[in-house]
Amino acid sequence: MSTCTTHSAPEPVFAEPWHAQVFALTVALNEAGQFEWSDWADRFSHTLKLHGLDKELDGGNDYFHAWLENLEQLLVEQGSTLPGDIQRMRNAWEEAYLTTPHGQPVHLAAGE
């Protein structure tokens, strides 16, 4: 844990762009009425406990890995998506990055 002796350097609100993205996705879904925040917090607490069984979680990447897994599970349980769909779309994005020349905007291939 940080001893927090220096407070002068401003910390970024989100350490990684994907932390911000998964946070915003979750807030947007909550505001669209897809789930109650208290339900989210209960589930997230459970997921954090599971992730923290064999290591002490930091408040950055570890925390947002648990957050992402929690969101995926919630969406699958609600029937908003299927695990296979997430994996397929993830691979489609990977393929898109690997086949887009450096410096060009990355788009999914037609039909994906």
């Binding site: 407070h7 609100v13 408040g59 925390y63």
Partner: protein, 204 residues
Amino acid sequence: MPHDDHDHPHALLPPDPALRVKALETILTRKGLIDPVALDEIIDTYQNKIGPQNGARVVAKAWGDSAFKQALLADATSVVADLGFYGRQGEHIVVVENTPEQHNMVVCTLCSCYPWPLLGIPPGWYKSDAYRARAVREPRKVLAEFGVELTPESSVRVWDSTAEIRYLVLPMRPEGSEGLGEEDLAALVTRDSMIGTGLPKVPS
């Protein structure tokens, strides 16, 4: 560093979780469950507009206006809403006042519940297992690590925020701040002093 390599043949591949988040975003957008523009707005809000400066204004006002302070301690949610601080994760805010006899600090043992409209997004350490476990078990030791030394006669009370109730600490007004206006007072109020893991700055 791969991203410094301009001869790289393809776009820099984001890490696995970033690809999974992109996948969710694509799927949910296509289903009409989210609007990508709304996502950008949410990120912009928390990166640039909402942060501890909001809470600092509330604290400064309470230091200078005892009627406001009493109202704040009685019903913080509606009092801060009147100042324009309301919305997500601010549905029920409770303000706890530090006194010479009692120091307050806030944790969320459940996950990371926090008064977003007043403080923004919590810092990494607030979300860490270490803080979440130790704040309750050994608060004085944690406070000492943050550089907060309490007098022996001061007790420590730890408040556990939940999805329903989020706490904000009202720190004690520092000595030497007499005669300062609200804006100068607000500049003394740090984020950590409103979580209870720090004290306000002392005027120079």
